[in-house]
């Protein structure tokens, strides 16, 4: 298929996916919308959709529509942890290792970084960097458990890492209860992080006046580029991908398959841990998470949407964050029940991820291109024949 047709197809497919998802969402919202008359229900549905689509970026009220920089900043801020988990999952999945440990990883990274931020005084900046790195390394080391078990004993990394998430969560809860909780507070939380460890907000310009959008966003984008280079421009990334495609081939080619599999999960662990540290030190004054934050699961969705390509992770992360924000807006301003929000989110994601969606239309384009190519070749051959003759 020609480049132009491919782009056309992607655009048509994306637009149609959103359209269909919106229709389904509209139907669901309509059913649950308040109001006694058909007209009232319809109006409520329209309001909800407006919030879902434009709410994430614009304030919609009687005066019209106005751009809200803070909301955009919130969306970008929400991308920080999920970009890191998305990258982590990309790299582990690329090696065909279905390690689901990014979820526990981001919690453990946040916790370890938090502890370093409280108890190990260091000069500013260095403190934050050290805390995040230590958080990342700690999680990287923990990921050695599923990785080595897989390589040495052929234990399923999927099951192992999945269970590991809960072990990590309860272990952190135990440590919090037993040792690190600030007993003077009503809820279970640590003492506050030292100021030297804080990750600063990106700036206080009037457009981006969100305290949540920190330097971490820039670091996340840098991580995207580094991971992209690593996966597509370095021998280790190359080997990870080859192992993911055909492990027997990799072994026969002389790659150290076991070693690379371990490395991929070490890197995945490091990324999710560092992401946890950046999120924690940028956004929270103390560590108070008592459950898995969900960023790891979102990371898996993002990696699948991005086709395991690190460079597409920010786009997928933005899409997920936008969707989340739109749903929040819908819940807040349009009285759509929270349960419905999950369904709407699911429907939109479903159509985006459905690979076979519109495959017949794609096949038609492919056939057309192929026929054109054949005709062109025949014409060329004819010309050549004439020239020779």
């Amino acid at each position: 298929m020609s480049k132009k047709r491919q782009i056309t197809f992607s655009l048509v497919r994306g637009a149609l996916a959103i359209l269909i998802a919106l229709l389904v969402a509209m139907l669901l919202i309509f059913i649950s919308a308040g109001g006694d008359t058909f007209g009232a229900k319809l109006a409520a549905t329209g309001e909800a959709l407006k919030q879902l689509l434009v709410g994430p970026l614009f304030r919609v009220n009687t005066n019209g529509v106005s751009f809200e920089g803070k909301r955009l900043a919130d969306i970008l801020a929400a991308m920080i942890p999920t970009t890191f988990t998305g990258l982590a999952v990309c790299i582990m999945f690329s090696a065909n290792q279905f390690n689901l440990g990014a979820e526990g990883g981001i919690m453990l990274g946040a916790f370890v970084s938090g502890i370093v931020a409280i108890y190990v005084p260091m000069p500013p900046v260095i403190h934050a960097v050290a805390a995040v790195l230590i958080g990342g390394i700690a999680v990287g080391l923990v990921m050695l458990i599923p990785a080595l078990l897989k390589v040495k004993l052929d234990v399923s990394e999927m099951v192992c890492s999945l269970m590991l998430n809960y072990i990590i969560m309860y272990f952190i809860k135990y440590l919090m209860n037993a040792y690190y909780a600030d007993k003077s507070k009503g809820q279970i939380q640590t003492y506050p992080f030292l100021n030297s460890s804080r990750i600063a907000p990106l700036g206080s310009s009037p457009i981006f006046n969100s305290a949540k959008l920190t330097v971490g966003f820039v670091i996340a984008l840098i991580a995207v580029v580094v991971c992209g280079l690593f996966m597509y421009r370095s021998r280790w990334g190359y080997q990870i991908r080859m192992i993911g495609i055909n492990q027997d081939f990799a072994k026969y080619s002389g790659m150290k398959v076991g070693f690379i599999i371990v490395i991929s999960q070490l890197i995945g662990g490091f990324l999710s841990g560092a992401g946890g540290g950046i999120e924690m030190l940028g956004r929270y004054p103390t560590f108070s998470w008592s459950a898995l934050p969900g960023y790891g699961w979102t990371g898996i969705t993002i990696a699948i949407l991005a086709g395991n390509n690190p460079l597409f992770v920010p786009l997928a992360a933005f899409f997920m964050a936008y969707l989340q924000k739109g749903c929040d807006m819908m819940a807040t301003y349009a009285n759509v029940p929270m349960q419905l929000i999950d369904i709407v989110q699911g429907v939109i994601f479903l159509f985006f991820a459905a690979e076979q969606f519109l495959s017949k239309y794609r096949q038609k384009l492919v056939v057309k291109t192929a026929q054109e190519e054949i005709a062109a070749k025949a014409a060329l051959a004819q010309e050549g024949g004439n020239a020779n003759g």
Binding site: S234, R241, M242, N246, D248, Y252, G254, K256, Q363
Partner: protein, 518 residues
């Protein structure tokens, strides 16, 4: 006279989702009770056409008529219900199940809630006897030799009521004797009214067994002939559009120092069968040593040992004086050993990766291709473009997915990689199996060229003509043992080889011992 055809495929077009137009207006007809050869180079569209007849792929346009009735073969199960059976080149069997279980898969006889194993075995035996195709019903498919797997596949189709059998390169994996056996079966099936489509690259076999021939080229069906009215040379010319010289010209070998030295290798496999029995031989610089033998007589195990995919029970193997037993593939490659693997789809390539990514798999860490921590992309592009050119890989660009290429071109990619990393020893395991005449010729020439430039080549091939023609000297393996050594392959005849390969004759230890050049 349309009624005489059991199958008519009319104006079939097929465009794959990757944009490859594999069939362009193909017409294909089968008469009842004939053996019909389907010929063409790899990538000519034979497999695609047959996949559509077996319902594995849907035509983009065109019509399929079976027994006078226009049908839509939306899946293999529909095709099976219309009496069509297919034996694939890459067998479609469940390795962990027994032969009998594979035979009745999806239609297993039941005893209450469970599969009636005794009945499975009984059915298998019944069909095995009826069609005189010998199989071991109770053995696991993973444990049986290739020849038997094929028989299981044929029986599987017959059990399901197939009247039209499609055999995709059935003889590629068989020895001369096994092939003859298969031909007898096929002829007897034909006499019973079965219709057989026979896909093969081997002209002799086509002449011997088929009634009619359809020749395809570039996705089109070009010619249909009565087999007896066309010569081998004509077929070959029609297929490739030029005369193919299958006789490889080669100079006299001038063997020098020993490169590979194998002594007393022994290996008993996990089912207690002795696969290697005191195997000793040398391969010297500048010579091609061939290993002939019926498949499953230890050749696969030998190659596994020499590339450390497995470890022998005892014995030694050295390359230029250094042991290659029990070290990893990276070290073996560092010592200059290359392997063209028997199973190219499993070991030879990463199908979803690009050609470029496939040709650098053994040297991704080399200094030439790296700039510090990152790849030197320019060097990688240059290398891959050079290799694609040198090895005439037919592709749009080196960025194309390898898995989308035809079998012959895939093998060229494998060979390009394995031949271009300055090897001292090349292990070539079935290097031309199942690929088209053009690619076969190319790879054979390359092997000869490399050996004459001073590389040691160990060639394992089930293709007797290939191993006899290419090798300077030759050993024959039977039952895990070397049973014969021929210093000069020129005077050998097929019949003589056959006797050694089947274990009817065996040379004296002294004669065999001459293969160790000490």
């Amino acid at each position: 006279m349309a009624e005489e055809y059991v199958v008519q495929m009319k104006k079939i077009e097929k465009v794959y989702s990757n944009g490859v137009a594999a069939n362009q207006g193909v017409d294909f007809n089968l008469k009842k009770g004939e053996i019909h050869a389907l010929m063409g180079e790899n990538g000519a569209g034979k497999s695609t056409l047959m996949k559509m007849l077996f319902g594995m792929e849907q035509p983009t346009s065109g019509e399929i008529v079976i027994n006078g009735e226009s049908v839509v073969l939306s899946s293999p199960s529909v095709a099976i219900s219309k009496g069509i059976g297919m034996v694939h080149q890459h067998f479609m069997l469940v390795p962990s199940l027994s032969v009998a279980e594979n035979m009745v898969l999806g239609m297993a006889p039941r005893k209450g809630l469970f599969v009636d194993r005794a009945k499975c075995v009984e059915i298998t035996k019944e069909y095995s006897e009826k069609f005189n195709l010998h199989v071991e019903p109770e053995m696991r498919v993973a444990d049986i030799p290739v020849g038997m797997k094929q028989k299981v596949e044929i029986l599987k189709a017959l059990v399901r009521g197939a009247k039209i059998l499609i055999l995709d390169e059935p003889t590629a994996v068989l020895t001369a004797q096994e092939t003859q056996e298969l031909f007898k079966e096929l002829i007897s099936l034909k006499d019973q009214g079965y219709t057989i489509v026979f896909i093969s690259h081997k002209l002799n076999e086509i002449k011997e067994i088929t009634n009619r021939i359809t020749i395809m080229r570039n996705g089109r069906s070009m010619w249909v002939y009565e087999t007896e009215k066309v010569t081998k040379e004509e077929i070959s010319r029609l297929m490739v559009g030029r005369d193919v010289v299958l006789n490889v010209q080669k100079d006299e070998a001038k063997p020098a120092d020993t490169v590979l030295k194998v002594r007393d290798l022994e290996y008993v496999n996990e089912w207690n069968k002795k696969m290697l029995d005191h195997v000793s031989f040398d391969v010297r610089k500048g010579e091609i040593l061939g290993i002939a033998g019926v498949e499953g007589n230890g050749q696969k195990e030998l190659i596994d040992m020499l590339f450390s995919m497995d470890t022998p029970d005892s014995g030694s193997a050295e390359v230029q004086g250094k042991s290659i037993i029990g070290i990893n593939q990276q070290k073996i490659r560092e010592m200059g050993v290359s392997l063209v693997p028997e199973d190219r789809m499993l070991y030879g390539i990463a199908g979803k990766a690009t050609i470029e990514e496939n040709v650098i798999s053994d040297r991704s860490g080399s200094k030439k291709l790296n700039n510090g921590p990152l790849f030197n992309m320019k060097a990688i592009h240059e290398l891959s473009e050079q290799l694609v050119k040198d090895y005439t890989v037919l592709c749009k660009s080196p960025k194309q997915q390898v898995g989308m290429l035809s079998g012959g071109n895939i093998q060229k990619v494998v060979v390009a990689r394995e031949f271009s990393n300055d090897p001292v020893l090349i292990l070539a395991d079935q290097p031309t199996r199942g690929i088209d005449v053009g690619a076969t010729e190319f790879i054979r020439k390359k092997l000869v060229e490399l050996s004459r430039s001073g590389i040691a080549v160990l060639l394992v091939s089930a293709d007797l003509a290939e191993v006899m023609e290419l090798s300077d000297s030759l050993i024959v393996m039977h039952d895990g043992k070397i049973v014969a050594y021929f210093e000069d392959t020129k005077k050998l005849t097929d019949e003589e080889m056959g006797e050694y390969m089947l274990g009817l004759k065996e040379q004296s230890p002294e004669e065999i011992g001459r293969v160790c050049h000490e």
